[in-house]
């Protein structure tokens, strides 16, 4: 969150001169006080300077809010500095996320550790020394302060008593409240354990852990495993998971009745220890109405920091599509004869349905056409658009009755080295990223890949000739595939530009590289992440691209800027996948903290936080109409989200291993998912979205009751021999292409 603040007000997005970032800032989710107001379990974000002291113990979100309002200039300063650092990453190895890690591992002095941590916590990309002047000292959530929240001494031997006392209480309450109050177990458990560890009660901590770790929900197993390793105060420094837990309040959503039950109980028992933890480390989001059921809670929980606050998903999202530019489709001269009476009506129909947004009137949910400056259409783009429309007329209407054919591209002899795949939109090229640092591009059409001639040869060409584009290509270099060398680590993400002139690749070496598919050389290496970059993707309109990686920050870039235009910070774990919204105004990121966030490209705000996954998210896909998002994670489940309402609207169970690929058909009727379990599955997306009743109440509270209808929605399962599916792509005619590498073992 801090990082968000630092980056968000940045006015320096060269391409975007929209001044709307200030008012947008006001929309940032504001935790509201519960109306009883007495105990203020939710920290009120301070809006006055004198409340700064309290802020130190509150979430960084609050600090940030404040900063954003009042210290904008300094934040901009910080951003500038950060940009400066990004230029010379070698000088500041400890910038970004590395501080804590590097410091601890290198075993440097304590102070260095602390400052490194500091930068980690602050999230601003500065070294500890640089950060101090950047912000007021009192604003700084110093690491000792953060940790010292644990210093309050309770009797360590009583912790077990406290916890089991609460457990007994919760087990004894009415059924309707029990499920809600049970949410408290996990965060309380973690904080109590950490308090014990912090205060050097090692054996008590161990006993506490062993006694109660079995009670926690199974989806917290991974976090518990990390926690179990942590037994010493020294370990707490530099442990990212821990710091995340500390710096961000765990969000619980509890009905008012249940909350008051809890409060009364704790006050009666004078159980200050637990009450303190609840007040300081938890954010309890109280709502009026019926308590939620166990299944409702389970469907939304599972993320590293609890559920999303309700306010976090209230901002307006313009999910509609942009108006397509008017292009005169030359009524196909040569195709006309071919498409006789049969072809004509067919051609009309899909045009209306699939390009509904193309109609003259503006979609009310669509963003302003110029909300984000988009690159001008070139002639070649227009030609491509025409090609696209022609293809679209031949598109097969998919549905439960007409399933797509699947063509599987198997990569052979890669020895487990295939890490990423992408297809061009017209399905003519395939790119593969490999663990041996190479990127390979194949042509899957008879048209071979050719390089442009060398400069000397180019000067000899008659530039006025009609076939100049043909003449500049060097026939001698024609081959079916080309290898791009440049990275120094496994390539984890590849993405073609929409015009097929460029290819992006992101790698373990911390860079994103832009390759020309004309010369098959590297054009730019975008440095800034410093840590492995797990994914990257081009905007559907080109020019912009997004990248995300181990440093937990997603960055928005423009191809002609070597520095990022936006930094999207807020995730508490690695950013594992990044996707552009079809209208290019939003970016979705999935993370190892088991949340999905939607970011506004215009101002860098986080406009949606989706929780509910129980494992790191490894695939995302927007529906073609921009209304929905599908996400797949390591637990094998695919979740469907409504962007407009900010709700989970579906759960597709069936895969038994990580879902690495998701794709909607061109009309959005079918969702295809590909997984590590060697299957491609097809789901009835139309029905999944149709079944959801979104009345006002569910929309307002977000308490969706999911129908368990995965089996009905599953239209087909296609098993490969031993090939995990890592990419899926629908051609313009709705043929499904899948790719993966054969795994002989």
């Amino acid at each position: 969150m801090t990082r968000l603040a630092v980056s968000a007000p940045g006015e320096k997005m060269a391409a975007v001169q929209d001044g709307g970032s200030e008012p947008e800032g006001e929309k940032e989710p504001q935790p509201e006080l519960p109306s009883d107001g007495s105990s203020a379990p939710a920290a009120t974000p301070a809006s006055k300077p004198e409340e700064q002291q309290q802020q130190q113990q509150q979430t960084l979100l609050a600090v940030l809010q404040f900063l954003k309002r009042n210290k904008l200039i300094e934040s901009v300063d910080a951003l500038r500095r950060e940009a400066g650092l990004a230029d010379e990453p070698d000088e500041a190895p400890g910038s970004e996320a590395g501080g804590g890690v590097g410091g601890a591992a290198a075993g440097s002095a304590d102070s260095a550790d602390a400052s490194a941590l500091l930068s980690r916590v602050a999230g601003a990309a500065q070294s500890g020394a640089a950060s101090a002047p950047a912000k007021g000292g009192e604003d700084q959530p110093d690491v000792s302060v953060v940790l010292s929240a644990y210093s309050q001494q309770g009797d360590p031997s009583l912790y077990q008593v406290y916890y089991s006392g609460l457990k007994k209480f919760i087990e004894s309450v009415l059924d309707c409240h029990r499920a809600e109050l049970s949410q408290l177990f996990y965060p309380l458990f973690v904080h109590m354990y950490l308090e014990l560890v912090y205060n050097n009660h090692e054996s008590e901590a161990k006993a506490f852990f062993e006694k109660f770790s079995g009670d926690q929900e199974c989806y917290y197993q991974d976090d518990l495993r990390v926690l179990s390793g942590l037994t010493k105060k020294e370990h707490m420094k530099g442990n990212e998971t821990l710091l995340d837990f500390r710096t961000s309040k765990f969000v619980l959503r509890i009905s008012r009745d249940s909350y008051q039950l809890l409060k009364r109980h704790l006050q009666e028992r004078q159980n200050n220890q637990i009450w303190n933890i609840i007040q300081e480390h938890l954010y309890i989001d109280i709502f009026d109405g019926m308590p939620r059921s166990k299944s409702q809670i389970d469907s939304m929980s599972g993320s590293l920091a609890g559920e999303a606050r309700r306010e976090a998903n209230k901002a307006k999202v313009f999910y509609g599509l942009l108006k397509e530019p008017e292009i005169e489709v030359p009524l196909d001269d040569e195709d006309e004869e071919a498409e006789n009476e049969e072809g004509k009506p067919k051609k009309k129909k899909p045009k209306k349905d699939s390009m509904g947004s193309k109609s003259k009137k503006q979609d009310p949910n669509a963003p302003q056409q110029n909300r984000i400056p988009l690159p001008e259409l070139k002639d070649s783009d227009k030609l491509d658009k025409i090609m696209y429309m022609k293809e679209a007329t031949k598109r097969i209407r998919l549905g439960p009755e007409t399933l797509p054919s699947i063509c599987f591209y198997t990569f052979l002899n890669v020895y487990q080295g295939l890490t990423a795949v992408d297809f061009t939109d017209d399905s003519s090229l395939i790119a593969g990223g490999f663990a041996d640092s190479t990127v390979r591009v194949w042509s899957v059409t008879p048209k071979k890949l050719r390089k442009v001639k060398s400069a000397a040869d180019l000067s000899l060409i008659d530039k006025e000739s009609d076939d100049v584009l043909e003449r500049i290509m060097d026939e001698k270099t024609a081959s079916e595939s080309k290898i791009l060398y440049g990275h120094s680590g496994p390539v984890y993400g590849v993405s073609f530009s929409p015009d097929r002139n460029y290819l992006l690749s992101s790698s373990e070496d911390g860079t994103v590289r832009l390759w020309s598919l004309q010369t098959f050389t590297c054009l730019v290496a975008y440095k800034g992440h410093n840590y492995p970059v797990w994914d990257t993707q081009f905007s559907p309109y080109g020019y912009y691209f997004v990248s995300g990686g181990h440093d937990r920050v997603a960055r928005l870039w423009a191809t002609d800027h070597y520095q990022p235009l936006r930094m999207f910070a807020g995730h508490l774990g690695d950013i594992t996948c990044t996707r552009f919204h079809p209208n290019s105004n939003y970016v979705a990121t999935g993370s190892a903290d088991r949340t999905i966030r939607l970011w506004d490209v215009l101002n860098g705000h986080c406009v949606r936080v989706f929780t509910g996954h129980k494992g790191p998210i490894h695939s995302l896909a927007f529906s073609p109409n921009g209304k929905y998002l599908a996400s797949g994670s390591t637990d094998g489940r695919v979740l469907l989200w409504d962007l407009g309402h900010g709700l989970m609207i579906g759960e597709l169970k069936g895969h038994t291993d990580t879902v690495y690929a998701l794709k909607f058909s061109r009309d959005g009727e079918i969702l295809a998912s590909g997984s590590m379990d060697n299957t491609v599955r097809l789901w009835d997306a139309f029905k999944a979205f149709d079944d959801v009743e979104t009345d006002d109440f569910t929309a307002a509270t977000g308490h969706i009751h999911l129908p368990d209808n995965s089996q009905e929605l599953l239209l087909g399962t296609y098993l490969t021999k031993a090939t995990p599916v890592i990419h899926l792509h629908f051609t313009r005619r709705n043929l499904l292409l899948a790719a993966g590498s054969y795994n002989s073992q």
């Binding site: 161990k206 197993q221 390793g229 198997t410 593969g432 194949w442 496994p490 181990h550 239209l715």
Partner: protein, 647 residues
């Protein structure tokens, strides 16, 4: 510090198995590691502190390494993942720690201690220099195939078989569950409330099931079926072999299984009446092929197949000229098939074995039963194993002997009866001898046998004596052999080149070459382990001091439960250069290029070694010998002939 990492990663594996309680490395490990880097006396306290710190850091790194594994889209953690995780922490990666295998550690235990170690072989540089360069690994390539066409997965080699054996089994045993686990439950829940809707649900389910259970074959499948059945019963033996091979290996046959089973049962029905021995044999071979196919779940069709097989065992007449034609072989073959199906399919529910046994016994006990049927019954019973022979056949030997005697020595006898009795007699002797040998104590007295078994006694006695001798021979070799070999299915054949490079003098004499990973004593305890099913032959060649080279053929076959038969073949001449020819074992998948390891075992006549291979059986005078093993990896297109000149 690096050594620490190195040594400790394996502990992580251990730790995984235990629950997520905080596991800490033992302090002894710390001490050992400290000593290995030259720190002598380490305080206990510092050991504890160190081990806790190291455990924590290692867990952190392992957790980071997992991220790299996930993003590498792999299921197995590699050493490079750990290198990358170290890099994240600004720690130098472990250079030079590359491993072909995923877990480079070997496990050993002894004296109540368990130990993991990193196997670093000493490599002889001259070997490396002299070996030809390995083939360059194939480049990445892209291959497209149809995973689905309009929603239907085509049965092509690139796709997995349409239904795995488990699925087929599930479908046949729990048809409702196999279709829709969710729906079925729903249906039953609703059934409690409203019977009308439940009927609807059931109806719907049936509708959904129907396309699965009808066996409409595609045009291709029909063609295939026609071709295969024609080839199987046709006149061309080569075609038949191909067809049977296809039935035995093709993964996509399960939809055609009902047709095949009907084809066989009808075929037997018709041909028994017509006494067409050849066709019956062909049909039985089809049954055998079907049973050999690992992807088929035959249980559903046993009711058709088993009667057909039983018919071929016990039918009164199977051929037109019972005196000339060898219908006995068919009975033997079918009996073996029956035994095999009893072994694989008999359960407490279907009781195949007991039902079959009953059928055979009943027919056999009947006095009026023909000799042919009698033979079939006995064959069928004796194939079922030693226990059956012991309890059912041996008690009746005397009675049966009397019957045979009546035929053989009696006055009026048809030729057919005589042949039948003769066959029954040899069959009984063959099967009973080994069982009797185990039942009775050693001294075999002819008179006693006569008293016990009547007419067959004396003959049985001599057979038993032979069987004992053979068993003793085997037992000896078992006890002597300490070579443990786990091995898929290699076969070796020996060819001797006529004096190639033949120098007369004493030379390092013997070479064993065995494809793929032959484990010599290293990881397993030194008990003879169960070798894999097909007989495996190893040839040990040795030159004794007198320069007379002999070859020992060790055959490991599963039927003898790990007792190798050693036979010694004296080689023709001293100047012959022993060459080992390697033949493809069939275990390799066509198209893939397996990494082959050849282990060369040479047996010089000198003694004293760490692991010894002793053979005292036969005539070879090979005293304790050294096994020199050197492992050479070669990438070869097929495990073709390789010669290795002795050094």
């Amino acid at each position: 510090f690096k050594t620490v990492f190195l040594n400790v990663f394996l502990m992580m594996a251990e730790e995984r198995r235990q629950k997520q309680c905080s596991v800490v490395l033992p302090t002894e490990s710390m001490k050992a590691m400290a000593e290995s880097v030259g720190v002598g006396q380490l305080q206990e306290d510092s050991c504890v502190a160190l081990s806790e710190e190291v455990s924590y850091r290692i867990k952190e790194i392992a957790q980071d390494a997992l991220k790299f594994m996930h993003h590498g889209k792999r299921r197995k953690l590699t050493t490079s993942d750990i290198d990358h995780a170290l890099k994240l922490k600004n720690v130098e990666p472990l250079y030079g720690f590359q491993s072909q295998e995923f877990i480079p550690f070997r496990f050993a235990s002894g004296g109540g201690r368990e130990l993991h170690f990193y196997e670093e072989k000493e490599v002889d540089l001259s070997d490396i220099i002299n070996t030809p360069l390995p083939r360059v690994p194939l480049d990445v390539s892209l291959k497209a195939h149809w995973l689905s066409i309009d929603g239907v997965q085509p049965s092509i080699p690139e796709n997995p078989p349409p239904a795995t054996k488990e699925q087929q089994k599930k479908e046949s045993t729990e048809p409702l569950k196999a279709v829709k686990p969710g729906q079925e439950e729903e249906g039953s829940i609703q059934a409690k409330g409203q019977s009308a809707t439940s009927a609807e649900v059931k109806g719907k389910e049936k509708l959904r099931m129907k396309p699965r259970s009808t066996h409409e074959l595609s045009v291709e499948q029909q063609l295939y079926y026609k071709e295969i059945t024609e080839a199987c019963v046709g006149s061309c033996e080569a075609k038949r072999a191909e067809a049977l091979q296809s039935i035995a290996t093709d993964p996509g046959l399960y939809q055609m299984l009902p047709r095949f089973s009907t084809f066989i049962s009808e075929g037997v029905r018709v041909n028994v009446v017509q006494n067409n021995l050849a066709l019956l044999i062909y049909l039985m071979r089809m049954v055998k092929a079907l049973m050999d196919n690992p992807t088929l779940y035959l249980e559903k069709y046993l009711h058709e197949l088993l009667p057909a097989v039983v018919t071929c065992i016990v039918s009164k007449q199977l051929c037109l000229r019972p005196d000339v034609d060898n219908h006995w072989a068919l009975r033997d073959f079918a009996a073996r098939l029956m035994a095999q199906s009893c072994k694989t399919f008999s359960t407490t529910t279907n009781n195949i074995q007991s039902r079959i046994t009953k059928t055979f016994t009943k027919a056999w006990l009947d006095d009026k039963t023909q000799w042919t049927t009698r033979y079939g019954c006995i064959a069928g019973l004796s194939e079922l194993g030693a226990d059956v022979i012991k309890t059912l056949i041996i008690p009746r030997l005397a009675v049966e002997g009397a019957r045979i005697k009546a035929v053989m020595e009696g006055p009026v006898v048809s030729n057919i009866d005589k042949i039948g009795a003769d066959h029954v007699q040899s069959l009984l002797l063959k099967h009973c001898a080994s069982v009797v040998a185990k039942m009775r104590p050693a001294p075999d007295v002819m008179e006693q046998y006569r008293a016990d078994f009547g007419y067959l006694g004396p003959m049985l006695c001599s057979h038993v004596v032979k069987a004992r001798a053979q068993a003793a021979l085997q037992a000896q070799t078992v006890n002597r052999t300490t070579l443990t070999i786990t091995q898929p299915r290699p076969s070796l054949s020996v060819s001797q080149s006529g004096g190639v490079g033949g120098s007369g003098g004493p030379r390092t004499p013997s070479i064993i070459k065995v494809p793929s990973s032959l484990t010599l004593m290293s990881t397993r305890p030194a008990t003879p382990t169960q070798p894999s099913p097909p007989a495996t032959k190893y040839i040990v060649m040795a030159t004794s001091a007198g320069a007379a080279s002999t070859q020992q053929v060790i055959t490991l076959s599963s039927s003898q439960s790990g007792s190798p038969v050693t036979s010694t073949v004296p080689s023709g001449s001293t100047s012959l250069q022993p060459l080992v020819k390697l033949e493809s074992g069939g275990g390799t998948v066509a198209g893939s290029r397996p990494l082959q390891k050849y282990i060369v075992v040479s047996l010089p006549s000198s003694s004293s070694s760490s692991s010894s291979l002793e053979h005292k059986g036969g005539t070879t005078a090979t005293s304790p010998v050294t096994i020199e093993t050197s492992v050479k990896s070669e990438r070869s297109e097929s495990p073709a002939t390789h010669t290795h000149s002795p050094h």
